[in-house]
């Protein structure tokens, strides 16, 4: 009985908070048939925005994957002073409001009166109000996701297999590629998918650093806001639907390809 009540509670909660609102986005998108979606896809400005979102998200995910795996190795496999401080710092992007992240980046890289920006600008690199700034803001907010997936798995698989590989003659890189990487593969895939979903949907930080120039630095999430504020609800819903779909597809794909029993160590452990 208690179990039924609990399940009902969870389902109601999820329905009211997640499923119903998100499904309404889809319902509103297809209010007048698929035409709204097709119109949106045909609009060159929106095409540019979608393209920019994909480019920024992919770039941010690539950076965070390489950096995240390296960072995870550092945190799990090495002892050094300040390790706990570093570990806590990595969670910072999750707790700080993205809009603060955006402002902080402007303070450092702003072309006119940023700390570092004017020098970069004189060297020919524009960061703020340009794609690099958008990539940086996106990478910042999604930074901990790969690390938080990989660190516990690295911890769990331990160093024994790596030490065995070293004793069999493998160098550091061979050990990483042949032993460590296959062990953390699914954690990386999961972290990448989470990062991708998070990066595609980033709004606050990007809004501050992008300058929101139509067709140039306006990303898909900014398009949604713009359209919504300008009473073009149908288009806003259509773009929002696209964004939501990509995230749903990401999660579904991972759920499908992830092996059901990874680490089936207990099976057949009979001597």
């Amino acid at each position: 009985m208690l179990k039924v009540v609990r399940i009902a509670l969870v389902v109601t909660y999820l329905f009211l908070l997640v499923a119903w609102p998100v499904s309404l986005v889809a319902v509103n998108t297809f209010d007048g048939g698929p035409q709204a979606l097709l119109d949106v896809l045909a609009d060159p400005d929106i095409q540019a925005a979608l393209r920019l979102t994909v480019v920024a998200a992919v770039a941010a995910v690539l950076i965070n994957t390489v950096f995240g795996v390296g960072m995870s190795m550092l945190l799990v496999r090495h002892e050094f002073r300040g390790k706990r401080v570093l570990s806590a710092l990595i969670d910072l992007p999750l707790s700080v409001s993205p809009i603060v992240v955006g402002l902080a980046l402007v303070l450092v890289y702003g072309g006119r009166d940023g700390w570092f920006g004017p020098w970069l600008e004189s060297a020919g690199f524009q960061i703020i109000f340009s794609t690099p700034g958008i990539v940086m803001a996106t990478a910042f907010v999604a930074l901990p996701l790969v690390i938080r997936e990989v660190v516990p798995v690295l911890d769990e698989i331990g160093v024994e297999q790596e030490v065995a590989a070293r004793s069999l003659g493998a160098n550091g890189w061979q050990t990483f590629r042949r032993i460590t990487l296959p062990g953390i593969k699914w954690a990386i895939v999961y972290g990448v998918v989470l990062s991708l979903a998070r990066s595609l949907g980033e709004f606050g930080a990007v809004k501050v650093v992008s300058g929101n120039v139509l067709g140039e630095t306006r990303t898909a999430t900014l398009v949604v806001e713009e359209k919504y504020l300008n009473f073009a609800q149908q288009e806003a819903y259509a773009v929002a639907f696209l964004l939501a779909m990509v995230s749903v597809v990401c999660i579904v794909v991972v759920a499908l390809i992830r092996p059901r029993h990874d680490g089936s160590e207990k099976k057949g452990a009979r001597a």
């Binding site: 297999q161 030490v163 070293r166 004793s167 160098n171 042949r178 001597a271």
Partner: protein, 326 residues
């Protein structure tokens, strides 16, 4: 001499794991590093493999100074207590690992892997994953993997420690026979004196970071260098002021010899073929005696019987009495 260990000291913080250890390990033999947990034997093995670096001292392997060599350059095979199987690779791939790293030709690798899997009786499991093997099979796979690279020495760290008693015993016999076939210099760590006595050609007893004695199993058992070695290799009791093994005490129901000590049987404990007596002598000394079941029967000893105890001729004794194990 295959491995020369000279003046090796290793500290972990304040803890001295190895204290000026000097040992020579002979070529082609099966040597056991025997000692209690935390005595430094695993640390010594890891120092030989290069998995730990000694604070001071030198390691020579086959005449080459290996002190500063990284583990992958020492050409040693290492077998871990918990197998360290590569979980995502098949048994065959696990065994092939070292050869693939060394970029040997494909055909050669296939042949060698096949040969090794035959040697460890796992040829029908070549395409299984380690998770589908039993503990004993996994350890044999780990052994084949270590042997694949033709190491100059094979190091095993408590190789049977994680296995149940029966499999342990089987693998022990099997390791001995395998060694007689391949003759690679082998060093294995164990805290089990029976395992060391049964399998090895030579035993190095290590305690509190120091080498207590080096010798053949018989030498160690018959002529222990000190009380520690004597009590670690087998049970010890005290009889008439000397330390002696309980099975080296002769029991009679009549005072046949002048020097026999009279006592009363306080307790009789039967374990399989063996009967353990606790005898209280007239001086109040508590003596432990081991007899076979049949002999105890023929004597007819039971609790309360009066018996006379003498040390058997040729028994290993030490003058200083040691703490009698309960």
């Amino acid at each position: 001499m295959s491995i020369e260990i000279k003046g090796v000291t290793k500290r972990f913080g304040d803890f001295v794991a190895l204290d000026d250890v000097n040992v020579s390990i002979p070529t082609g033999q099966l040597t056991a590093l025997l000692g209690p947990s935390g005595g430094g034997k695993s640390t010594l093995l890891r120092v030989i493999a290069g998995l730990e670096t000694a604070d001071t001292g030198h390691i020579e392997i086959e005449g080459v100074d290996a002190t500063r060599l990284s583990p992958q350059k020492r050409n040693v095979g290492f077998v871990f207590q918990h197998y360290a199987a590569f979980k995502h690779m098949t048994v065959a791939k696990n065994v092939a690992f070292g050869l693939e790293i060394r970029k040997r030709p494909k055909d050669e690798i296939t042949d060698r892997v096949h040969e090794l899997l035959q040697l460890v009786h796992l040829e029908q499991f070549a395409h299984r994953l380690p998770a589908q093997l039993s503990g004993g099979q996994r350890q044999r796979m780990a052994l084949a993997r270590a042997l694949a690279v033709e190491p100059s020495v094979l190091l095993l760290d408590e190789p049977f420690g994680a296995l149940d008693a029966k499999v342990r015993k089987e693998l022990r016999d099997w390791l001995r026979r395998l060694h007689d076939e391949v003759h690679v210099t082998t060093v294995f760590v164990t805290h089990d004196q029976e395992e060391a006595l049964e399998v090895s050609d030579e035993i190095v007893v290590i305690n509190e970071g120091r080498v207590e004695q080096v010798g053949t199993p018989d030498q160690l058992y018959d002529e222990p260098a000190n009380d520690f070695v004597m009590s670690f290799l087998g049970e010890v009791t005290a009889l008439d002021g000397v330390a002696i093994r309980p099975h080296d005490i002769e029991v009679s129901t009549a005072p046949l010899q002048d020097r026999a000590l009279e006592g009363t049987v306080a307790r009789v404990l039967r374990i399989g073929f063996e009967v353990r007596l606790t005898v209280l002598t007239l001086d109040g000394e508590e003596v432990h005696v081991q007899l076979t079941r049949t002999y105890a029967h023929s004597l007819g000893v039971r609790e309360g019987s009066t018996v006379w105890l003498t040390a058997a001729a040729g028994a290993t004794t030490r003058p200083v009495p040691v703490a009698v194990p309960a």
